[in-house]
């Protein structure tokens, strides 16, 4: 069956196309070149509409143990956000930490066709994949979390070679069906188990005597040498601590020129100026990102309202627990592997700190010059639920609207922010880079995030409305693998068989014997049971797509 979207203004940054009128042809779920002889095609007239690839969220906490704890902790929030059963969809609910069903439905309705869970604990990988298998329509992928697991820290402390560390990292990616590696508070989650309450970048871990800088160096090298497309995904030390911009700059230094991705950089761009000893350091961090082409970042924008924060960083979440609202928290040490901390938050526009966090995120977006190296996220749900993306896009594309919103926040925070002086407005082309072409490129998804021949036919058609929030909240058409799934912002079809994207780097399988011995000696589960096969992934509900490990796509 051939389909043609005709007359639309195509925005496809991967091919440098910025609003030219083009026809897009689709056959068997793929985009194809215009056929030479005009064959019979189902034609959809999208004249005057904006046509983009399906959006990709490269950092969204949508599945796994800590998300399920967040769901359990928030019944009062969920009660207000019910997703009713229809002829097409099943019941679900949740605003800040929605059920997987509601999550898949809502992402698809906003034109998102792929979402990446950025903090899969290896010991919890099976549950994560079971949850993602129950997240309908959208494609998924996971970043395996390393850096505080005892196997790795023992290797590092024993001075094992980089090659052996690479083998372990490769084995983890393979066994857990992951597409990238993430580190959270490098070494710090482990240090907290030894009752260390802070761990700065050059501070030694009390037991292993290694520093976060050494952890970062070993893992950035491993990811680089294994030729994993996405750089090491780094949630650095000192999350949320005033003055942590210095740590962030030191973290960039620790990469020593190798590719590194700084995640939710808003939470890591704080200074200590002013009476309240809390200030914006967005300009300094943005300047460093601009000056270092090996660095990319996603923002982790906060939005005002109720949400729940869920992080592997239990050391810092334990400190944050007393700031939570409603006042309750889950702090967990996990399986000589990692940890987690779940704390509900209500960000208030009249709170000096929250208002300034909001402004810092926007300053960051507007100050990083290369849209290929900055990504649109709220670190769902930590800064805000992903459903706030259309509002965020309006803040970035519409300066007058942004300044109106700025006028409403805490006046003291306003006085501490340069936001009103930033005149930049993101173009639709830049939005398409940040939400499509950029994420696909950094993750190595050669056939996603663009509209060239051979790409998966994940396509979104928007009305070109002045109100960008409305435009992005309610696309006119969304196609997933060539099938129409959304019409005017409402689901019209729920597709099965969404995929999990993963990479399979080369590594020496001799590492398996060492890991098996370690499991036998110290763990309480089996090494054999640790591996998730492609067949098991299918049982979990997903089809496996393996991407090449020969570096990032061009």
């Amino acid at each position: 069956m051939l389909m043609c979207l005709t007359g639309g203004r195509v925005i496809d940054p991967a091919h440098g196309i910025d609003g030219q009128v083009r026809d897009v042809y689709v056959r068997d779920g793929r985009i194809i070149e215009a056929p030479p002889d005009a064959p019979e095609a189902q034609t959809i007239d999208v004249t005057g509409r904006i046509v983009m690839a399906g959006a990709i969220d490269l950092h969204t906490h949508i599945g796994g143990g800590k998300v399920n704890l967040a769901r359990l902790l928030m019944p009062e929030d969920h009660r207000k956000s019910v997703c009713e059963r229809t002829a097409l969809t099943r019941s679900s609910c949740g605003h800040a930490a929605p059920g997987t069903l509601a999550c898949g439905y809502r992402y698809a309705e906003m034109g998102y066709t792929a979402c990446f869970e950025p903090a899969m604990l290896p010991t919890n990988a099976r549950q994560t994949h079971l949850e993602l298998g129950d997240t309908p329509i959208v494609d998924k992928g996971c970043y395996a979390l390393l850096g505080s697991d005892d196997f790795f820290l023992r290797m590092l402390a024993a001075g094992e070679s980089q090659a052996r560390i690479n083998d372990y990292v490769g084995w983890i990616l393979d066994c857990t069906q992951a597409i990238a590696i993430k580190v959270v508070n490098p070494g710090g989650i482990s240090a907290f188990k030894f009752n260390q309450r802070r761990l700065d970048i050059d501070e030694p871990h009390v037991h292993y005597r290694v520093t976060p800088r050494q952890v970062l160096r070993a893992l950035t090298s491993a990811v680089h040498e294994l030729k994993v497309p996405h750089a090491l995904h780094v949630h650095g030390c000192n999350l949320g601590v005033p003055g942590n911009a210095d740590t962030t700059l030191a973290t960039i230094g620790a990469a020593e020129g190798l590719p590194i991705h700084l995640t939710h950089v808003q939470f890591h761009s704080y200074g200590t100026e002013g009476d309240r000893k809390f200030s914006s350091a967005a300009a300094r961090v943005a300047e460093a990102i601009n000056a270092n082409p090996n660095v990319s970042a996603d923002v982790g924008q906060i939005m005002f309202g109720q949400t729940v924060t869920a992080s592997g960083d239990n050391m810092m979440q334990f400190r944050n627990a007393e700031l939570g609202s409603p006042r309750k928290a889950v702090i967990m040490d996990i399986e000589c592997d990692a940890g987690c901390g779940v704390v509900p938050f209500r960000y208030r526009d009249q709170s000096f700190v929250n208002a300034l966090q909001w402004a810092i995120g926007l300053e960051m977006f507007l100050s990083v010059s290369d849209p290929w190296r900055i990504f649109l996220t709220t670190d769902h749900p930590n800064g805000a639920p992903f459903t706030s993306y259309p509002h965020l896009i309006r803040l970035l594309t519409d300066r007058a609207f942004r300044n109106d919103m700025f006028e409403k926040i805490d006046p003291e925070a306003r006085a501490h922010s340069t936001l009103a002086s930033l005149t930049r407005e993101y173009s639709l082309y830049e939005i398409a880079i940040m939400t499509r072409a950029g994420p696909a490129r950094t993750l190595g998804l050669a056939d996603r995030g663009h509209l060239g021949a051979g790409a998966a036919a994940d396509i979104v058609v928007y009305r070109d409305e002045d109100d960008r929030e409305r435009m992005f909240a309610s696309p006119e058409y969304v196609f997933k693998d060539g099938e129409l799934i959304v019409r005017d912002g409402r689901l019209v079809r729920v597709t099965d068989g969404a995929s999990v994207h993963a990479v399979k780097p080369d590594y020496d399988r001799a590492i398996e014997a060492k890991v098996a011995d370690y499991f036998e000696r110290y763990q309480t589960s089996s090494a054999a049971g640790f591996r998730i096969s492609a067949d098991e992934l299918h049982e979990c509900g997903s089809k496996l797509i393996v991407h090449s490990c020969r570096g990032a796509a061009p």
Partner: protein
């Protein structure tokens, strides 16, 4: 018609390691032997629960479904079950002792027919859950206990009656990551008497169950450094509790272990809250975490699947095409006692869970039963499906006590019985047809 599990062809074989599904520890090192006749017996590293569990699944039993007491085809039984659910105002899908696949199908069916979901052992689980939803928790997992815990304070349970290999595998094995050896571990049992295989240095603070809430309240206060005027709590001198609080503060990595099933007194959630308060206070200066033991009969699996799909825990109902969570109203025992439901679909694929007690005043609601070959309630069921058992007859997934590790089960033998998931999906399909 009596048959060995069914007529699938069997070969006798030894399986060196398999995961045992019969308690929340989900030990993965149990050796079993299957016979040509289809029996499965534990041959090494078993415990009384695993031996009994595999033996129960090996006994002969009815091979075919039954409708109104007579043998029926699977298709007829599916149609009969669907008819009962179609006519019901408010069905209850209870028991819920099944694997992830079975629970996925149960949630879909509940949504399809507007049913309430509650687990057979929810009463125990809610002692933890209500405290969790009110205040949160500080917890840790089994491998952390194994390698780090230098002080275990065990509240109201001997642990081993419900989790037989806890001390052998988790709390007192040889070899730890950080050089912690058995002589450095201390274990204090509050309430139940220490079992023989508890670590060497075990103390016992005997206490009546009825005194437990007061004792835990006092322990929370003493941990916070409060002075108490009382001289004793029940039979326990305050001085004894003060010593305990002092050693808890001095521990490097302590844990409080409890099993909600053993906190069997009114408003036990308040006792769990007192444990949480104690942990919060202790973590100001040292590390101390909770180890709530559960997961048996797949209660945590049922909760996890419903939570991730729908966003709400058990005791959620789907009447009116929308999910509603109410830990009081949707309590299965209350719904049955008050006759607020008009069909009961009961799932028990691991052991033979007894049906909830029912009053004799009014006729019991129609019963659809998915259970093993020897289900006690089979003769009372309006529709009975003999189903396969996860981890014995087919592979699957169960959630371990600490809610972190999901264990992959494998089949020990061939079986022709359908799985719980297959039956529920067939019923769901039948309901969709008209």
């Amino acid at each position: 018609m009596a048959a060995r599990p069914d007529k699938a062809e069997q070969r006798s074989r030894d399986i060196a390691t398999c995961a045992c599904p019969f308690c929340g520890l989900l030990c993965e090192d149990v050796a079993v032997r299957t016979s040509a006749g289809g029996t499965v017996a534990v041959s090494a590293r078993g415990c009384e629960l695993s031996r009994a569990g595999f033996a129960r699944q090996s006994a002969p039993g009815p091979g075919s479904p039954r409708v109104a007491g007579s043998a029926a085809t699977l298709e007829q039984a599916v149609q009969a079950a669907a008819q009962l659910l179609r006519e019901a105002w408010l069905p209850l899908i209870g028991g819920l002792a099944t694997d992830v696949a079975g629970m996925r199908a149960a949630v879909e069916l509940a949504d399809r027919c507007g049913a309430v979901l509650d687990h057979a052992t929810s009463a125990a689980k809610f002692r933890n859950l209500l405290a969790f939803q009110d205040r949160g928790a500080i917890t840790t997992t089994l491998a952390e206990v194994r390698n780090r815990a230098d002080l275990l304070v065990v509240i109201g349970t001997d642990v081993v009656s419900r989790f037989p290999r806890f001390f052998e595998r988790i709390a007192a094995p040889r070899g730890t990551l950080f050089g912690l050896n058995d002589s450095e571990r201390r274990c204090v049992f509050v309430g139940a008497k220490p079992p023989p295989d508890a670590p060497g240095r075990s103390d016992w603070i005997a206490c009546e169950r009825g005194d437990m809430p007061d004792l835990l309240g006092a322990l929370a206060a003493l941990s916070a450094g409060a002075r108490l005027d009382a001289q004793r709590v029940g039979l326990v001198p305050i001085e004894r509790l003060r010593e305990l609080a002092n050693s808890m503060r001095a521990a490097r990595y302590g844990v409080i272990v409890w099993s909600a099933a053993d906190l069997d007194f009114a408003h036990a959630e308040l006792a769990v809250l007192a444990i949480m308060r104690t942990l919060t206070v202790l973590n100001r200066t040292t590390r101390f975490s909770g180890v709530p033991l559960g997961g048996t009969e797949a209660d945590l699996t049922a909760d996890a699947v419903l939570l991730w799909q729908v966003g709400l825990p058990l005791r959620t109902g789907f009447a009116a095409d929308a999910p509603e969570y109410d830990p009081y109203r949707y309590d299965a025992r209350r719904l049955l006692a008050r006759r607020e439901i008009d069909v009961l679909l009961w799932i028990s694929t691991l052991s033979d869970l007894p049906l909830p007690p029912q009053t004799d005043a009014t006729p019991a609601p129609p019963l659809i039963l998915l259970a093993g070959p020897n289900a006690g309630a089979a003769q009372h069921a309006d529709v009975y499906f003999p189903v396969a058992s996860p981890g014995v007859d087919h592979g699957g997934h169960l959630v371990r006590t600490d809610k972190v590790v999901t264990v992959r089960l494998s089949a020990a033998r061939q079986s022709l019985r359908p799985s719980c998931a297959q039956v529920l999906r067939a019923i769901c399909g039948e309901l969709s047809r008209c």
